[in-house]
């Protein structure tokens, strides 16, 4: 585990160097130079493969330096990251985020990314908990509270295949690397979620996006997603 508190980044891995897998958690400030609108983004790698990647950046076009246009590029937008949309909208430039943690206890290390009031849609609470259990798997808990009822969407990108998993959820695979990504089954009072895999448009090369969308508009969502790297699933 490594936290970079001043920039709001953390990396969770069972061992270093040459970790068998890791999850990188991004918070920080949306006022930083060259920032993307990516509070609470996660990237997951297994071996040398980014199975749930950050898309990175394209060669900068001239209008990248136009503040009104750069945020329209997919890889800069919130939708282009592995994080949360609220009311179909993303985060707003200039907003501060905060990374809390690490919190450590028996069998776990945890962080909380705070993106309160960072969305285009008024969202008093937008927090993602990342819990690393037994140095084996990760559980995300997204807590979203909006001023008015709105739908919520969790997004995860991959250059590999995203296939439904027999036990529920999805298996993301790219070459020999992969992970299972498993939304918690209902049982909560949030009206359920629907998942769909689509080809993302707007990026410079083909990439898939798994969209987990609430079936109802709500003012408060608490939803858990488990990520099991394939090496931990053996």
């Amino acid at each position: 585990m490594k936290a970079f508190a001043s920039i709001g980044w953390a990396m969770l891995t069972p061992s270093q160097p040459d970790p068998p897998f890791f999850l990188a958690f991004k918070n920080g400030s949306l006022a930083a130079a060259h920032t993307h609108l990516d509070l609470n983004h996660v990237s997951v790698a297994v071996g040398d493969t980014m199975v749930v990647p950050d898309l990175g950046s394209r060669p900068y076009p001239a209008d990248y330096f136009d503040a009104k246009k750069r945020y329209l590029y997919y890889e800069i937008s919130t939708a282009g990251h592995n994080t949360v949309l609220v009311g179909g909208k993303g985060q707003v430039p200039g907003k501060p985020g905060k990374l809390k943690g690490p919190f450590e206890g028996e069998r776990f290390t945890a962080f909380v990314g705070v993106a309160d009031e960072a969305y285009e849609v008024k969202t008093p609470h937008a927090r993602r908990h990342v819990v690393f259990v037994d140095r084996s798997y990760f559980v995300l808990l997204d807590e979203i509270e909006t001023a008015e009822p709105a739908p919520v969407e969790l997004r995860f990108h991959s250059y590999g295949a995203i296939a439904p998993r027999i036990q529920g959820g999805w298996t993301i695979s790219e070459g020999k690397a992969g992970c299972d990504l498993i939304p918690a089954s209902a049982g909560s009072n949030q009206g359920g979620w629907a998942g769909a895999v689509e080809a993302a448009s707007g990026w410079t090369k083909p990439v898939n996006v798994l969209r987990l969308r609430s079936l109802v508009d709500g003012r408060r969502f608490l939803t858990a997603t488990t990520i099991v790297p394939s090496t931990a699933a053996q």
Binding site: H129, I182, P183
Partner: protein
């Protein structure tokens, strides 16, 4: 962990997430949620 099932439920102000034989628990209030820990079921 292969084939693990994941379920979530809310018990009052507690959010419990079952991941296979593990149970993770958060306590949630007006100021948000706090992770309490993980234990075997």
């Amino acid at each position: 962990m292969k084939g693990v099932a994941v379920a979530q439920r809310v018990d009052g102000n507690l959010v419990r997430v079952d991941v296979g034989r593990d149970q993770l628990t958060w306590q949630c209030g007006a100021d948000g949620c706090e992770f309490l820990g993980v234990r075997g079921r």
